[in-house]
Amino acid sequence: MGDGAASQLSDAMNRLWEKFLPQMEGRVATLEDAAARLASGADLTQVALGNAAADAHKLAGVLGTFGLKEGTELAREAEGLFEGVPGADAATVARLVAIADGLKRLIAGRRP
């Protein structure tokens, strides 16, 4: 692949990132909301937990494609933790809150 094609791909990837940024931010918001509700002591429905795990799974699948490999690892960890709830202890819930915050920062900080 020549430099021209590599540059063309990189530019197009950045355009796709901008296009899908709101969708990714929405997925992180789902995780953040679920983690915050767990931290407040609320019981989440199976549907809400399933949605959080599903959004974490989707983030895990795509963030590394845009160069955010750490984001993929965090999202993968969140998916596993959400699949393990209910019965999560305080440390697990705190970890979910931290992961959601970490994902927000990584996504906001991505540069072309």
Binding site: A6, H57, R76
Partner: protein, 123 residues
Amino acid sequence: MHRILIIDDEDDIREVAALSLETVAGWEVMVASSGAQGLARAATYQPDAILLDVMMPGMDGPATFRELQKNPATAHIPVMLLTAKVQATDRSRFADLGVKAVLVKPFDPMSLSQQVADILGWN
């Protein structure tokens, strides 16, 4: 020019994979957003290979693969599963279906086409 069908319910993954295969390899890419749509497009367009997401609502990847295998019009098309599941047990279970390969998401857009070409012997 090779023709690839991407079946994935996630629009971001579909678009990135399509962009990668078109830009890097110059292949012709078709997309489908569900297993049912993928079955129809595979039969109509007769792609040279299919990239098929595992986790989709409704008909998931393994179910879609089984339907592709049942249809004489699509049974010959090599299928590679795409999954964000990384556990060895998951990947082994998917490989046992009889697919050509199991590719892990996230993929590298720069090297996806080379990975596919290597698997299919297109080099």
